[in-house]
Every structure is written in structure tokens, then in C-alpha cells.
Subunit: 421 residues, 2 copies
Amino acid sequence: MAIKNAFYAQSGGVTAVINASACGVIETARKHSDQIGAVLAGRNGIIGALTEDLIDTNKESDAAIAALRHTPSGAFGSCRYKLKSLEANKAEYDRLIEVFKAHDIGYFFYNGGGDSADTCLKVSQLSETVGFPIQAIHVPKTVDNDLPVTDNCPGFGSVAKYIAVSTREASFDVRSMAKTSTKVFVIEVMGRHAGWIAAAGGLASDAETEIPIVILFPEVRFDQERFLALCQERVQKFGYVTVVVSEGCKWPDGKFLAEAGTRDAFGHAQLGGAAPVVATMIKDAHGHKYHWAVADYLQRAARHLASQTDVDQAYAMGRAAVELALAGKNSVMPTIVRTSNSPYAWEVGSASLSDVANVEKMMPSEFISADGFGITQACRDYLVPLIQGEDYPPFTNGMPQYVTLQNVAVPRKLGQDFQLK
Amino acid sequence: MAIKNAFYAQSGGVTAVINASACGVIETARKHSDQIGAVLAGRNGIIGALTEDLIDTNKESDAAIAALRHTPSGAFGSCRYKLKSLEANKAEYDRLIEVFKAHDIGYFFYNGGGDSADTCLKVSQLSETVGFPIQAIHVPKTVDNDLPVTDNCPGFGSVAKYIAVSTREASFDVRSMAKTSTKVFVIEVMGRHAGWIAAAGGLASDAETEIPIVILFPEVRFDQERFLALCQERVQKFGYVTVVVSEGCKWPDGKFLAEAGTRDAFGHAQLGGAAPVVATMIKDAHGHKYHWAVADYLQRAARHLASQTDVDQAYAMGRAAVELALAGKNSVMPTIVRTSNSPYAWEVGSASLSDVANVEKMMPSEFISADGFGITQACRDYLVPLIQGEDYPPFTNGMPQYVTLQNVAVPRKLGQDFQLK
């Protein structure tokens, strides 16, 4: 088998552990230097391929690559840029092939979520459609946990842990203050269409530590009257209430609770501000003093509180992607297969990209309690293993030591710059 | 010396380490059971004294008290309730004395910030003003770090660490996304009048890890034009910018950037929402996509990321308060005295409450950079020691194990309930 280079890119919103997957890809590739020459990373994701802006990861020391395992964010830059279909924009595919040929790339590792799986699928078909030999493997990543087939998605476990812990901590705070001050605390969490992250807020309360939590899921039609009644009931019983609201929560007419009005490159509405809407609503109805938080990027970047399980799985997905490539596979994605709930056990599987691309896994209805405002035991059984273990980054002088790579550019071989559409 | 009971109460906003001070008070008192009979805690702060709602901390096991050291929030409940002057509301002081007499209380430990120091001062004067023998010791606590005399305040170091780490993590995230998506990240932090917490955001950037951070301090007159120009300059140079905005930041006319319009029991305006105001302002001026976070209670409750220095100092303040009482002191507050910057060293001192009450320590002007948007080396030298060390709580099943005390009520000895004003 001829030695070929590999292309690796990070796509879409980054996470606390996407670099652990990068670490898995690069460390595994380095172990197979008889088959993979160099891992060339796209600077800012697929845009790096289109503009021939490639990063030579071989210029990074083993120690720097190892440090990716404990560094949040996308070390090579990510992007929100969705390839159109081959028919709609053949120029982009021609350009990809031109760049891949120029840099002798035979492997395409794409680290992203649902939209990216679709891009990866299109690239994987280039052998068939235009006769360019390439093996495209998708490396799963999304805090939204909404990829199908795989039991869970790298990135989600750490957000889940952060939201569960933060919700518990803030709830202890408001409980302390409730007698004369704040009685309502609202935390807004990510999850545009699926309520997985919101569900994790429910883990703040358990058999040993009871906390009155009300969750607003994007999957559940928002019933303002029942919601306000439930909050008041909890305040009367516990003295306070904590509300976890998903950014994706909608009014019955389909509008988001708070829609900023702008849209990203994928055409998704840019959200933010459901928490103040909900907090004010409760204040207006019942007069309680409130506080609210919007965790935003803090939740998905919080490597300081990453789940050990999540870090291990993110790394394993990166490693498995390379192993699948070396085994001759194309158009697949390594997956996490749960083999036991208690004790939790998992192994690596794989899925065909045609089963993954453009399929969004919602919360199963049996994970949401009958009243629509909480999680069931089945949901708890699913979630708890994913937040197991702490994998603290090294600290120096009070601060976590996250690596910033040199990101040395591979010399260009093609003449002209490519104009992005 | 006759054995007397002690009263302990938590006051005002709680912190990640106020319970570590409670732990210091109670463990030290237990070691001196020949002089202090029981530590009776006010349920919900001073309100517990006024309503004779006292908690018998002797009902708690040594293990439960020890666990306070790693548990955020106020374990006995706190309150926002400021005693008026003796002249303005003599009934409250009469009631305090009635309750203290009934429960044989000779020591008053009050764990709070500036407003609470004033209450503690008034109680300390009861021996003189009405002939009731009591020793009142203030235990310093405030995330705002605005108490005078003491080098720093327990509670602040942990918030500072949380904000420094979170700002670094989120900045890595936005740096990854900046090519095609978010270029501006705004994080809103606490600090109504003093910019200490905002300053801590500046620690996210250091010699090893450069991050373009712009800080909006409450101490600096907001200059929108210069601010917007600086943000644009940073975006052009680095590709992105992170803004740390204090909730206390004001327009030149004195109005808060975002004022919710409601006021708490001390008459302070309830704030929130400066971040979206700032983010939108930049978007309108320069068109950049933004994200914003409001950390709110998450920052002051984040015991999972507490500073070891802060935890040690909070405990030491509680212990020192009891030792001062046993040494016969009244109307004092233990303080943290910095004896060396590098290596950092500190010892316990004490201050007269008359020097502490109602004095607010602002950021010295030499801590704010000449342009008004950053911190100086002197500020860095001051802050860095305070975030040193990690003191992780124990985790079980993926979640931190915070204690909830039984909080058993002391049987009432007085007939009628007291009506709070």
C-alpha cells in the first residue's frame, strides 16, 4: 500500500474534547507512518482545504500533540461552511480534488456533527462520482448529542457534566438566599433542537441531594400556564426553584422564546436570551426575585470540568477513525456502542455515513417525565455514565495549561487562491 | 471564664467558600468546648436571631462540619437584611438581646461583607450602649473584594479563578470559530461598584497564552467610541476579541449599561444584561457575529474550581475569629495580611470594625491600564497569588458531593414570634 497523506479538519461548533479526537487521529497516524505520511490539518476546517491553507501537524512535537488531549476548542480552527451538492457547486469539489492531489491526500478525516457528516458523505462518494480515490471517515463530535446510530457523541458528556454541576452549585446558592432574596434561578443551556443538554441539568438533583428543578425542553410544547403553576408549587414547597431552559425552547407558535433575528452560515437562527424571558415571566406572575445565567460558550469550552468518559471516548473515536481507514473503509463513522449500563461499559463500533448524514436524534419521549418538565429514570440511567470521572488539565500558577499549536503552513503548490462562495 | 454559647450567621450574597469559614468557626469552637458551649447558627442569617430560629450545630457530625469546607453556598441560609441604627429601630436590638440572653449567647460571629460589618459593629456596641455583654467579631466574606484593611476577601479568589479560567476557555473557543462565525465574545461578571472580578478576566491572557481581552470596569467612565475602536483593532489583529464587562459598568450619565429596574433589600439596583447590550453594540458598529454569556451565580458558586489559597484563607478567617473572641476581643475582624508577593506569603491580622464598616475599597487606579481597558503588571502581581492551587471537592458518580446539613432547630424559649419590619 502506497503511503498517502491524511487530511484532518474540525467542523462546526467546537467542544471541550474535539482536540482529544485530533490527538487520537494524529497519535495513531504517527504510529502508522509506514502507511500515513503526514496528517495535514485544514486551517479553519474545510476552508483550509478549499483555499489550500493546510497545517503540517508533523511540525508539532509529540508533547504538543499529547497536550491536545487536555485542551478545549479547535486547535486548527473550525468553520461553519457547508458544501453544496456536487451538482450545485462542482467547482468546490474540483478544487478539493485539486488540493488533495497536490498534497497526495488519500484519507479524509472530518471531525464534526450532523451537517459535517453530510459533507463527509459527499467527499466519500468522490471515488465513485468522479473517480478520485479517497477514503472519507467521519469523526463524531457534537455537544448536541444528536447524531444517530452512536450511543452518544463526544463533547456531550463534558457539557452534561458542566451543566449538572453548575446547576447543582447555583441551586445551593439560591437555596441559601431564598428567604429574603432570590427565589428563582434560571440557567439557559445550549441545544437548538434536542434537549439532551437541558436534560443533564436534571442530574443536579438526585436521591442524596434533592433540588427542585423544572426543565424546559425544545421537544415539549411550551405550556406557560402549567409551567408558571409548577414553579410556584416548587417555590411554596422548597422555598425556591431552579429552571433549566434550552435555547431551543419555543412558543406554541413555533417561535423561539428568544430569537436574536440573525442566522448563521447554515441558515440556523442565532439564539440567546431565553433565560431572561423565562425569569421575567415568573417574576411577573408571582413576584419572586430572580437571577439568571446564560452559560453559552462557557459550557462547551469547560475543559477544566471535562468528563473522563467523554475524553476517553473522544480520543477513541479519533484513533478508531484512523484504524478504519487503514482497514480500507470509506464512508463510515466510528461509533460508541453501550454494552452495559451498570457497570457502564462501551466499545467502538462503526456506522455507514448514509445512515448518519442529515439524521437528527431527538430525546426519546420515554426520557421526558409525564408532565414534560423533568427527566425519567431511564434518562438518568442513560446520562449518568457519560459524566463519570474527572480528567483535570494540568494547572500552573493557578491557570490551566492549554496548548496553542504553532500551526505551520504547508507550502502552497497551487497557483491561485480559490474564491469561497 | 464562664462558658457561653456563640451565635454564627451568614449574611448577604454567598460564595464558594463561606462555608469553609463556617467550618473554621465551628471546628475551632469545638476544640474550645471549655469556653464555648455550642455554636448556634442563625437560620437565614440575622433573621434567625430576630425570629429565634436558631440551628444547633452540635447536632451535626464532625464529618458533616468538615464537609462544609468543600461545599459552596450558605449552609445555614443567608439573608439580605440590614439592621437600622439603634435609634431608628431599638425594637430589633431589644429583640436580639432577648434572644441572646435566652440562649446564653456571649459571642457573635457575623460572616459577611461591608453592609454586614456595619451590623456587626452595631452589635459590638451593645455592651457599651445598653450594657449587654457580647463580643462581636466579623468574619470577612465577599466576592466583590471590596472590604478595606484586609489584603483581600475570602470568596474573591475563587470567583477570580473561575472567571480567569472561563474567559480563557471561551476565548479559545471563539478563536476557533472566528474565521467564519463568532468574532466577538462578551462575558458579564459580578462586581457592582468595584472591578476586581472584571480584572480577574485579564488573567486569562498571560505571557504564554496571549488573548485579546478588553475589560469594562465600573471604575472607568464608559467611552463607547474608544471601546468600539479598540474592539475592532483587536479583531483586525487577532481575528477575534473577548470582552469582560462588569455588571456595574455605567453609561456616562451614571445609568448602568443594563439596569433591570428592581432593587434588593439594601436598596441596590438589581442588575443583569450588560453583556447583550455590549455585544449588540459591537455588532451594530462593526457587523461581527457575537456570543455572550452571563455567569451570574455560577461564578460565585463554582466550588468545583475553587482556589486553594481562597479556601485556606476562608477557613483561617473563621478560625481566627474564634481565637480573637477567646482572647477577649470585641468589634474586630480578622484580616489577611500579605507579607510577600513572590513567593506569595500571608498571615492573619486583625482590624477594628470602625475602620471596616461602610468603607468600600475600589480598584487602585494603578491596577488599571492607561487606556482604561486592561490590567497592569501591579494588578497581575496582586491577583495571581489569590488564584493559586486547586482544591477539588470529592466526586461520586460524576457529581461533587456537597453536604446539606440537618439544620436542627434549637427549641424556642421565647413566647411569641417577632415581626420583621
